[in-house]
């Protein structure tokens, strides 16, 4: 359609360029097809299954809202939801501040920038299962880890993963440990976009380092910080690996999150209908978090 209209709009004396009918949509098809089969159709199926009592094998029976009614009455669901909120809030805020600080520190040195970046980035390149296991058995374990050594020299410290009050924070700590360096590298890349002469001019004019950061560096990296904040919220709300390997949601359900709850419901007790209801609630709650974030950001941009 558009091809013919632009062609007609050309003055008649100019030679018309012969453009073969565009078949560009064929280029999107493979990617779209794979995604539709793996993501969209199963997402729809999961949504439908949330209203059934399917166990994975026999024919699913429609049960209306029964799954949702039952999960909303379950303390485990609310515990998981609360844990998700705590986890996401701390995961999105603490590393943001510490990594920004580290990135600014990195800006102040000339030698060793690459070395520090590579070091900080290292944990991201190693599988979470492995890192989680190192922390579990070589650091937190009272028999074989650093905690055990600290106990032997008389420091009162215990494995945070076996205490219901600290299990979630223990997992969160390990996750943040592996993550802050990645953020630092990204912030550092953003900070380096700042025009050097601008910084030097500010310092020559007698601005303090804090003022230089506040008025020159921060405004430039703010879009990156906000983008990474959104990404941190999205990623941390889906947290699964760390919890599954470090505590499996325990002790009790003190470190359970919606992702592990849904997974266990589907593959350990084969209540696929209920598991789908968990997944659906998780997705909806995640979406609410994203919408709230976008709202706040839109308001901030207006102000």
């Amino acid at each position: 359609m558009t091809d013919t209209s632009t062609a007609l709009a050309l003055p008649d004396n100019r030679p018309r360029r012969r453009k073969p009918a565009s078949r560009k949509w064929l280029f999107v098809m493979p990617a779209l097809l794979v995604s539709l089969c793996v993501v969209l159709v199963p997402v729809i199926a999961t949504t439908v299954l949330a209203f059934t009592n399917w166990n994975g094998f026999s024919l699913p029976k429609f049960v209306g809202l029964a799954n949702f009614v039952s999960i909303l009455q379950e303390p485990r669901f609310w515990a998981a939801f609360r844990n998700n909120c705590i986890y996401t809030f701390l995961f999105a805020t603490l590393p943001m501040v510490s990594s920004l600080f580290m990135a600014v520190l990195l800006m102040t040195v000339r030698r060793g920038r690459t070395f520090f970046q590579v070091m900080y980035f290292l944990p991201v390149t190693i599988a979470t299962v492995i890192l989680a296991q190192i922390w579990r058995s070589m650091i937190f374990s009272p028999t074989s880890g650093v905690v055990g050594w600290l106990q032997s020299v008389g420091i009162a410290i215990d494995n945070p993963l076996v205490n219901p009050d600290t299990s979630l924070l223990g997992v969160l700590f390990v996750d943040m440990w592996s993550w802050w360096g990645y953020l630092t590298v990204i912030y550092f890349a953003a900070l380096r976009q700042v025009d050097r002469s601008l910084i030097e001019a500010a310092l020559v004019d007698g601005a303090s380092r804090w003022q230089t950061f506040r008025h020159i560096l921060l405004p430039t990296v703010l879009p990156t910080v906000m983008f990474m904040l959104l990404m941190s919220i999205i990623w941390s709300f889906k947290v699964f690996d760390w919890i599954y390997v470090l505590t499996e949601g325990g002790p009790g359900f003190s470190s359970e999150v919606l992702a592990t709850l849904a997974y266990k419901t589907a593959f350990q007790s084969f209540e696929v209908g209920r598991a789908s209801a968990f997944s659906l609630s998780m997705s909806l709650l995640g979406m609410v978090a994203i919408v709230i974030y976008l709202r706040i950001q839109a308001r901030r941009e207006k102000a």
Partner: protein, 277 residues
């Protein structure tokens, strides 16, 4: 922002940067050091230097744990996923970057949305479907799922590379009578190849380290990837932490070496997405 001649400030800054680097390196060092110690030593003195390093442990667990097979599985799955993702996402990136497809905006939004959806929102039907098709423990199922999961990210990254290709080049090729496919293959692909390399590196690393999908769809010893194999072994080696750490070291080593070799391109690729927005 450099600190110039203020020596005290410089020492403090380097001390902080160094302390941070140490906090990252220490747990990784514990993995390697404890692999070299005996399990007995670990339990007697949890934190200690390997007095009598047992270098043979690596060869022993490699054979015992069937790591060769597991790493081959990881490599095959990663390689196949990279090929599929690079192919389908570069084609889509071209069409979407040039806005030549009706509904390109809707399609972009769709791909963007899929990146926010938790895997639990689509893995249950897939699992039971694959079970029906006897594709549990088959790498094919995992490759297809990974391809779908990593396509949006690489599509958006490659899109920025396509935007840097001047339109005139494409038009010149077209005037010479090149078809869409020909333009894509001979003009676009060579020019976005740095982007493709970055995508390949990132996808490869992520697939090697992936856990949730592989643990669900690959359950027996023959089909297990390296991470799945490691998780299976945490049960068996529960009482032999030295061997467990040796396995961990062997699985982590390729990605760490790989990353250190290509760190510049890797870090650039990762930060480009976030900094350019």
């Amino acid at each position: 922002m450099e600190l110039g001649k203020n020596l005290t400030a410089r020492i403090i800054v380097y001390a902080m940067l160094g302390a941070a680097a140490f906090s990252v390196a220490a747990p990784l060092a514990l993995m390697v050091l404890n692999a070299l110690r005996s399990n007995f030593d670990i339990l007697v003195t949890p934190l200690g230097w390997p007095s009598d390093p047992d270098w043979g442990v690596f060869l022993r667990v490699w054979k015992e744990a069937g790591l060769g097979r597991a790493m081959l599985n990881s490599l095959l799955i990663a390689g196949a996923t990279v090929i599929v993702v690079c192919t389908i996402s570069s084609m889509a990136a071209w069409a979407i970057a040039r806005k030549d497809v009706p509904g390109w905006m809707v399609i972009s939004l769709y791909f963007l949305t899929t990146t926010t959806i938790p895997i639990q929102m689509f893995m249950f039907p897939l699992y039971f479907l694959m079970a029906q098709l006897s594709l549990i423990n088959s790498p094919i199922a995992v490759i297809i799922i990974y391809s779908a999961i990593f396509t949006p990210f690489s599509l958006f990254l490659l899109r920025t590379y396509v935007l840097d290709v001047p339109m005139e080049l494409e038009e010149a090729a077209r005037i010479d009578g090149a078809s869409d496919w020909r333009v894509f293959r001979s003009v676009i692909l060579p020019l976005i190849s740095p982007g493709l390399l970055t995508v390949a590196l990132i996808v490869c690393l992520n697939v090697w380290n992936e856990f949730l999908i592989s643990i669900t769809f690959l359950q027996n010893a023959d089909s297990a990837t390296a991470t799945v194999r490691f998780y299976q072994l945490t049960g068996r080696y529960g009482n032999n932490l030295a061997d467990l750490m040796a396995v961990a070291t062997l699985i982590a080593l390729p990605t760490v070496v790989f990353f250190v070799l290509v760190q510049r391109r890797f870090i650039e690729g990762v930060s480009a997405g976030a900094v350019k927005g």
